[in-house]
Symmetry: C2
Subunit: 422 residues, 2 copies
């Protein structure tokens, strides 16, 4: 045996270990109490104190200021007849919905959508707008976003000036911090200032994010996140996306642009992706990948000008009727989807993967075969594979995620401008 | 336009938004002050108060109890001659190294290693032990781990009973929470209780983890983590591993077993991996993958019984001399490595990727070609690709990570058994 030098030893003299974080992070207690009330729907003060681990006296004092500023309200709980007449009625706290309104807008290839939520998260109105599909200019995108937003506002009898914040979601490569769309499959222009331009148009602060993050946010705020602290969302539609929730928070990559599962390479020199690279997962699984193969399988060449939706339906009918080429297309897409899911499982070891998207209605995606293949492609650890759940993507789910983004921004803004309770 | 139903709306009535966390998490102030002192090496009280964002009075009172319990000490700072004689000498705080000792042990195919650190993170002694390579029984592994640990202890003139904690690292699939090695390339047995068996043998609490996590911990405590909050470590050696540091903490996957980059599938029906699957990244990049191809390229068949190290050196010499087959082997390995790195970048968007491992000395891995290919395989975002740094894997780096694991455990234990300051 011999003693060797250690390249890291000199560093020990100047200290070691993870860098300390400031202990006195400003904790906005009022905002956290408010958020706990909203998360519960309605909750008595004593339960609120218990769930937050603070004293009932602190809760009472904070709630008094929240009630005074009009953000929460007291409601007498309905009692069962057997309980009536026994002392005072119990009182719960709820968020006052009408204290703020926010909107969420989703822009996509076939259909835009908009949704209006009040501060409690309750939906007030929504609207959708069909499109013929394909790319558009940035100016057209802005005009269409205003149109669908105004339509939802009209249904709610609200004006733009009633909104505290608008969230907007676009498929593609979003630089959230800068408010930019670097590239989108529905946009001709690149590198556009969506956040600031749209905010100037509607006269309200705007937040942006990509489709997969917004689906993950919708699940975090309204769906799976109500019961789980950690899960992965994989979206399959016009593209393939991924959203990751860790410890009740959306993780956005170390520099804010990660989670590009659709553009991980699954085959060197493989199928061409719309992004220009070869072998991306998306190039095997997304709808445009199936459509270009459908043209070959159905011998369409450049003849029939049919909608992508129509082509996919037709391809699926042929597969069910036993057409070998059509079956081979779905078979390969399913195997690559299984590969993508297995890789997600290998990297994140999640307990739950949610498969979300419009394409979910195609049997090949929920086929037992795909889940079996996913397990084949995972390391054998002796532990069960992650649970996989299929979520059909309602037209408004993604808009709801955009509205959650806006709700979060409106909440932070409400407490940033108020004096913070000691 | 039409109004549509929203599958998530009913949930809004029962609240929405991320679930609240208790606000009064028990924060062990004494431990956090102690860790800040260790991270700084030596630090005056006033700077400590500033970096932690707490009052100088709190710092003084906490430090008094830490000095009393023998965990930190005061030292007069050396003053420059020009400063001498002006009032009292400045006093800094440091961790008392001799308050605790810990050990880190790494077990691997070619060489085991052990390292002894004191509580300040300073290395006291180390030892390495050469092996002939190949699989061993669990009993042999335990005996060898004791041997290399005792050798390092002897150099330090310490006994096992002087240790507060031992960290041990093994390549393979580790279930850290259960203290088990599910599978290891150097072990015949599967699913063994390494933590508990080793703890009983040495009479000291033991922590275990896999090689890639320990390299990431070594970087977090002693290397890159001194300057960065987030980075990815990719280890290439006997296998391919990955460690992820997020916000100054090692991320271990949602259920504690993620980051299996080496077993993500990069080619459906591809090369056979030691894990039994086909097409794993490891099956193209790890040393065993190169060695099996070297046997073909060098026309060795089953003749020459040469060490893996020797075979790789010879393959590399042939490649440099222009042998086409040898060059093709390194060429393909390099392309798949580039693919793996590009996928890591697409998913995590890190600012820094550290490539760590013994194999790093082979030119094909640090070749400009591999980095250029990585950029080719990444989505074009207009932003620069992540910085990639090569770290040659000293024999003790990994053992140092195991020691950091032990240091962390010993620190938590020191503060768990002490009365916590109010």
């Amino acid at each position: 045996m011999k003693i060797e030098s250690d390249p890291y030893d000199p560093l020990a003299e100047s200290g070691c270990g993870p860098q300390p974080k400031p202990l006195s992070e400003p904790r906005n207690l009022k905002q956290q109490v408010f958020e706990a009330v909203r998360a519960s729907g309605r909750i008595p003060r004593v339960e609120l104190a218990r769930s937050l681990g603070i004293s009932p006296a602190s809760v009472s004092s904070i709630c008094a200021t929240l009630i005074e500023s009009g953000l929460i309200e007291e409601r007498s709980d309905d009692l069962k007849p057997s309980e009536a007449g026994r002392g005072r009625p119990r009182v719960s706290l709820s968020v006052r919905g009408d204290a703020r309104y926010v909107a969420g807008v989703k822009l996509s290839d076939q259909k835009h959508g908009a949704i209006i939520l009040d501060l409690s998260g309750t939906m007030i109105a929504s609207a959708t707008m069909d499109r013929t599909g394909g790319v558009m200019t940035f100016d057209t995108m802005l005009a269409e976003a205003c149109e669908v937003l105004d339509s939802a506002l009209a249904t709610a009898s609200l004006a733009r000036s009633h909104l505290s914040s608008v969230g907007i979601g676009v498929p593609g490569l979003i630089e959230r911090g800068a408010g930019k769309v670097l590239w989108s499959p529905i946009l001709i222009d690149r590198d556009v200032d969506l956040r600031d331009r749209f905010a100037r148009l509607v006269g309200v602060p705007v937040e942006i994010d990509n489709d997969a993050n917004l689906v993950a946010l919708a699940e975090l705020w309204f769906g799976a996140g109500r019961e789980r602290s950690d899960f992965v969302v994989v979206t399959i539609e016009h593209g393939v996306g991924m959203g990751l929730v860790l410890d009740h928070r959306l993780y956005r990559g170390a520099m804010g642009m990660g989670m590009e599962l659709g553009h991980t390479t699954v085959q060197l020199d493989g199928a061409l992706c719309r992004c220009g690279k070869r072998g991306c997962l998306e190039a095997y699984v997304a709808d445009y990948a199936l459509i270009r193969e459908a043209r070959t399988a159905l011998n369409l060449g450049n003849r029939g000008v049919r909608s992508p939706q129509d082509l996919l339906e037709s391809l699926y009918d042929h597969a069910k009727a036993g057409n070998e080429a059509a079956r081979a297309i779905f078979g390969r897409a399913g195997r690559y989807l299984a590969l993508g899911l297995a890789n997600v499982a290998s990297i994140f070891d999640p307990s739950l993967i949610l498969l979300s998207g419009d394409r979910m209605r195609y049997d090949y995606l929920y086929a037992e075969d795909v889940l079996a293949e996913m397990e084949n492609l995972m390391l054998k650890t002796g532990r069960p594979a992650p649970q996989v759940e299929i979520r059909t993507w309602g037209d408004l789910l993604w808009a709801r995620g955009a509205a959650a983004l806006a709700l979060d921004a409106a909440t932070r803004e409400a407490f940033a401008t108020e004096p913070v309770a000691a």
